[in-house]
Amino acid sequence: MAVIVFAESWEGKFKKITHEAVSYAKDVANAEGTDVIAVTVGSIDDDASSLGKFGATEVINVTGDAFGAFNASVWAAALNEVAEAKGAKHFVISGTNNGKMIAPMLSVKANAAYISNAIEVPSNFSPFTVRRSAFSNKGLVDYQTTAEKVIVGIVPNAIGVKEHGGDASASSHASSVAADSKSEVLDVDRVKGKIPLPEADLVVSAGRGMKAPENWNMIEELADVLGAGTACSKPVSDIGWRPHSEHVGQTGIQINPSLYIAIGISGAIQHLAGVSGSKTIVVINNDPEAPFFKAADYGIVGDAFEVVPQLTEALKSFKANQ
């Protein structure tokens, strides 16, 4: 049986969302009376057994010549190889950019049903039923499958990390999966020293209300105090005040942090489509009629140029007293 979870890593380190995926897999495994096997692909510097804390019983590192640069098809084949060797029927894959490429390919290779965007632990196992979000967070849908094998894709940050406690054995698996001769990674350009937005648990985001790009210092300072990622609205990236990689919304990046602070963003429906999965939303805007207030949990009607530095100071003293 066993539940296979893809333990995604970056530059040899497990990603934070990997811990969430492993603990989700543990919940699935517990309900079915089985164990979690975490599968890592390629070289790992982190202590593989550290995943035991989140519920993995076994951590298998797949090695071979094919596992240099990322290739979704090759990664999917590796996961399928381990699953077949272990007789696993269930897979958990976090919906990162790589995870979202691997899962549908694995679904074909493993002949498994694939339910993506899950936001809860399965509510039933016969038939397998899990709740997922749809319609850009405007709807929740219970999906069901009677397939023997099932892949659950989870929304990063939507479920949370749970420490199950325990130890994991670490081993490696020499894979016979061949490299992909039709595709080759030429270059990877990743922002250094910043939290990638899809992984950020806290996000500070700003829009046209900031009036000019040089005013982003105060946004960066607020983000620094919180240890948050920075994001922006579409108009701001369109006029080049901020890089496109920071644009959150329907056409940009979709995020589900536990805290989203929107400063000087009116809250167009396309913007909300990318951020409404956030657990707590704070809106700071000088226009009390800004539609974003309707989607917010907390709001301050006020001038960002006054409120943001005050908030940064208040958070500094809060942190100092922690």
Binding site: S107, Y114, S116, F135, V188, P198, H244, F293, V301
Partner: protein, 246 residues
Amino acid sequence: MKILVCISHVPDTTSKINFTNDNTEFDTNGVQFIINPYDEFGLTKAIQLKEAQGGTVTVLNVGDNTTEPTLRKALAIGADDAIRVDAKPSDAYFVAEQIATVVKENEYDLIICGQESIDYNGGQVGGMVAAMLDLPYASPCVGMDIDGSTATVLREIDGGKEKSKMQLPIVIGGKKGLVEEKDLRIPNMRGIMTARTKPLAAREATGAEARTSAVKFEKPAPKADVKLVDNVDDLVNLLHNEAKAI
């Protein structure tokens, strides 16, 4: 170059989402349907490639005849012909099987899907088609150049971008960046007139079976009214003690 653009027929972004039939179906009553926004970027990219390098652009939808206006719109934007697989798009696997069947018959060089459709947000079809046909796949694809039988594609990764070289044919899941929003094509009068006579073929579905089904829909609990505070200390306090977000 033969390009296939897969088009989802989806509710407009601003639609009110409601459910019907004891919450077992999406209520299409009063809903305006559009070309999936991610597919629009792919369609414009396909037309640009055709204009620069020659070839044909075919659009494909899996759906009943109510999706034909959406396909006609794609023809008016500049696609050469359209195929509708006459079936309810019951799940991603079923849809991917239909697309893969059409691709096998017609041998496209480039298969463009959106990174996801904005209705069910599944993000599954492109990857499944690629795996079914053993083709390279890139998603979310935010840039593409074609030189002979080689594609250079740019895709988003968490916190950055990855550039790859791929041998055609390939499958991509596109989004903004493939072309810029200001370059998106919209139908002009001539396009709308010629679209009426462009071929739109309906064909029967293959016998693939869906692997998943939506059994119950629910609207998220309405958000409580916003709590307005007038100073930052109250906000920090609420974020810590009530929301437990910091």
